[in-house]
């Protein structure tokens, strides 16, 4: 056991600098980190906290435009900051492995999965090619990938996202490293898939007694995975403690605020009067991309001043439903009514006023705002376009809107989107929608690209705006915590159909349709035993496969 507990990685007083406008600015200010063999350390914090930078530094690597400017990184008795690059390269891949956030982007699309697995062991002469292939299949089996004998011989685009993430974890294990760095490995996955990957990672780390650094911004996830948790803020350590202590009694204010995020709830509204004409009403809508049917018989109503959350995994058709409402994808049958009036199917045939009434807020504020336009132009355009405002009137309106989204007008008026943080960009997206003076707004995963604290701010803002302006929201999301926070009614979708719909309170109390139950129970909770208990409850090793069997 002495060997098991020995220190594997010790980082002392790590300083990292990043190059901004030809100046070096310190982004990590002296962080210490100790990791024993077989231990899993969770690094959490908002974006920009330096989680990934520290994770990479544990391999002695600094991204382009960054440099390790001080401190020491000792890996198994070896000082990484002074090791030549060629030795580091051997170390990475063979003794330290890295699992990236997006497996889909990290695999080379033109090589088979198993060939990418065998590359490192063969190159470092750890195993022969055939041995390594057998080893891969064995690991695929342990990670409970379907058809382990055959799946490796497919190309990355031929397997699903969750399977690819597991294959990548297997690949990280290919040289039996002492340390694996997981950089947000499940952030891009659906909740039901996330469980498979989490269970797989936990098992494999256990089985091989591998040490791991698990980087994430999702507290509930890190609670399942890590032995100890370290909280980071802007390149500084906030606190560190073992998982249970950290969850039960966080010491620092910042940590407490992170813990409290999930407690936001919008005020419960009275149920909408069914006799009142809904703002938007989808009636038996079918839609298809070419010959492939993506929506079948979708009907739901959205009343003024209410929020309807549309929930489902990726590919369930929730965004397609939004495209039907906006007229980007004309339905093949069924109608969309706006305040009792049938809307033309295509947005091209709608009047300016109909277009004005329904606005949209996008998931990725980066692609939703024109990078070459100033904030004043981005927000001002809808106001000028619909309201024919000019000059001083227009400026007044833009100031009003910036006030509404709680940004200081004078400071932001002349800026470009690139000069804003993620949360500020999303606020600008909201202001652009508000500039049209709409009655109905579609929010397409508006918080999923944001940190939890920032996301909470956006949700509060949307809630305030709803009360002030009596807006109706269609809130598309896969995050059930968000649903719990803001929804009045919930629509659960799966494979282009509505599985269940009803008021929020009813939806969060069982019993339900099996799929809804599966979805709800898959949302990680802040209890460190949650995953273990859940797996036992379901009585299966592989929750994802079981879920699929369950439905068919």
């Amino acid at each position: 056991m002495a060997r098991e507990k020995s220190v594997l990685l010790e980082i002392k007083d790590l300083h990292i600098e990043g190059r901004v406008d030809e100046k070096w600015i310190e982004i990590v200010h002296g962080v210490d980190l100790t990791l024993h063999r077989g231990e899993v350390l969770g690094l959490i914090g908002e974006s920009g906290a330096g989680k990934s930078t520290i994770g990479l530094a544990a391999m002695g690597f600094a991204r382009d435009g960054c440099r390790i400017s001080g401190g020491s990184i000792e890996f198994d008795g070896m000082e990484l900051t002074s090791t030549p690059e060629s030795d580091l390269r051997v170390l990475r891949g063979s003794r330290i492995a890295y699992v990236a956030q997006s497996a889909a982007a990290s695999f080379n699309p033109s090589h088979k999965i198993i060939d990418q697995y065998t590359e490192a062991p063969v190159q470092y002469r750890i195993r022969k090619r055939m041995e390594s292939q057998e080893d891969a299949i064995e690991l695929y089996r342990r990670l409970r990938l379907p058809n382990p004998d055959e799946i490796g011989f497919r190309y990355p685009h031929q397997v699903s996202g969750g399977q690819l993430q597991r294959a990548m974890t297997a690949m990280a294990m290919s040289c039996r490293p002492d340390l694996i760095i997981f950089d947000e490995p499940t952030t891009a996955l659906d909740v039901t898939t996330q469980i498979e990957v989490l269970a797989a990672i936990r098992d494999i780390v256990d089985q091989f007694n591998t040490a791991a650094i698990y980087i994430t911004h999702d507290l509930a996830v890190v609670a399942q995975m890590a032995d100890t948790i370290k909280v980071l803020l802007k390149g500084d350590e906030v606190e560190q403690a073992d998982t249970r202590t950290m969850l039960d009694s966080p010491q620092e204010e910042y940590t407490k605020s992170l813990w409290a995020v999930r407690s936001f709830r919008s005020a419960q509204k009275t149920p909408a009067d069914p006799s009142e004409t809904p703002v938007v009403s989808m009636k038996n809508v079918d839609a298809a991309y070419g010959d492939i049917k993506v929506l079948e018989d979708i009907s739901f109503d959205i009343h003024s001043g209410r929020t309807v959350a549309v929930v489902g995994e990726s590919g369930s058709g929730k965004s397609t439903a939004a495209r039907c409402i906006t007229g980007l994808l004309p339905p093949t049958s069924g109608t969309i009514e706006f305040k009792g009036e049938v809307l033309p199917a295509s947005y091209k045939d709608r009047t300016k006023d109909q277009l004005r009434q329904a606005q949209m807020i996008y998931q990725m504020a980066d692609t939703a705002l024109n990078p070459k336009k100033r904030i004043s132009e981005i927000i001002g355009r809808p106001a000028a376009f619909y309201g024919n405002l000019k000059g001083a009137d227009l400026k007044k309106r833009v100031d009003e809107l910036l006030d509404l989204i709680e940004l200081e007008p004078r400071q932001f008026y002349e800026r470009f989107p690139a000069e804003l943080s993620g949360g500020q960009k999303q606020r600008i997206g909201i202001a652009r929608a508000l500039a049209a003076d709409p009655t109905f707004i579609i929010c397409d995963e508006v918080t999923s690209a944001l940190d939890q604290l920032v996301a909470e701010g956006i949700l509060r803002l949307l809630d305030n705006l709803q009360q002030e302006l009596n807006l109706a929201y269609m809130f598309i999301t896969h995050d059930l915590a968000t649903v719990r926070a803001i929804a009045d009614e919930v629509v659960v979708m799966k494979d282009g159909r509505i599985i269940e719909k009803g008021p929020k309170d009813e939806m969060f109390t069982p019993p339900h349709d099996p799929y809804t139950d599966l979805l709800l129970s898959s949302v990680p909770e802040m209890d460190p035993d949650w995953l273990t208990t859940l797996l036992e409850e379901r009585g299966v090793d592989n929750v994802g496969e079981a879920a699929r069997d369950h439905q068919s």
């Binding site: 947005y347 277009l355 606005q359 949209m360 939703a368 024109n370 336009k373």
Partner: protein, 353 residues
Amino acid sequence: MNYFIIGYYAMLIGASCVAAYFKNRQAFLLIFTLTLVSFVMGLIGGESVLWSVTVAAGLIAASAGIAYSFREFLIIILPKQGAKTMRTAPLTASFGLFVVIIYVIAAVFAPVIAPFGQAEVVGTSFAPPDDKMLLGADQLGRDMFSRIIYGARNTMGLSLMTTAIAYLMGCVLGMLAAVRGGWLDQFLGRLVDVIMSIPSLIFALLLLSIFGTQLYILVLVIAFIYTPYVFRLSRAVAGNIVVMDYIEAARLRGEGTWHLITREVLPNAMAPLVAEFGLRFCFVFLLVAGLSFLGLGIQPPTADWGSMVRENATLISFGEITPLIPAAAIALLTVSINFIVDWMLYLSAGLKD
């Protein structure tokens, strides 16, 4: 052994020692390799080869010096934002800028700079250079230097106009195709394929022999030939932009096609289009020069670098470098523009927004 050769090797070896002493690996390797190569070349070619090496090294050093001081000059005179960009510019780019600016000055102030008119006969044919005629006379006794200056104006002006027209047509059509899509995209795309399937020089010869060789026809024909290339580029660039959410937002707002093209797509497509403009300008420039060389381009007695190469081509057999001067002018401009384009491509790829 004379002083030149001794000095030559002494300097090289001394410089290598200095580089080695200061642990400048790259500089040492370069200088010492040059020393070794010089031994071999000196043995084979004798002193004259060493002279040309010295001249070449001197020219490169002078160009680097010009580029360096010109960059410093620009950093000082430009406003803050421009100065910041220039500070990161490589020497090649500032050299390119310098050459292009010299050419532009020559083109704009041609009548002031040139001592004689472009069609003025001032000496005997093929007169050697003297005080009056810096580069000698051509086959009709016209001043070579004056004709080169006027040539900058004619050849560059024509190419600039042509490229601008090609760009106007290509960009508008390309972005229209990308924004509208559907049958319009298909139709324009196939039309462009047909035009591009004909070799450009032959197509130009064909069209020029049908329509005549007036200047405006020349401009239109070359613009027409290069429009498809611009179309393809702008359509591809715009194609990546029109799938963005902000374009979707603008469409859903009910914006017209013209607004989409000019206000939403074009500002984001500027960087690659401008870089391509420089490159396309070179191609047009070379095609004009080539057509002039074949006798279908700019008509005499108007001075033009392409036809000047042809007219003086016979001199090359007498070991005279006169016909190479307009050719060198063409080459220098093309290389310089490419230096600038490389830099701009780097800038547009490295931009953070």
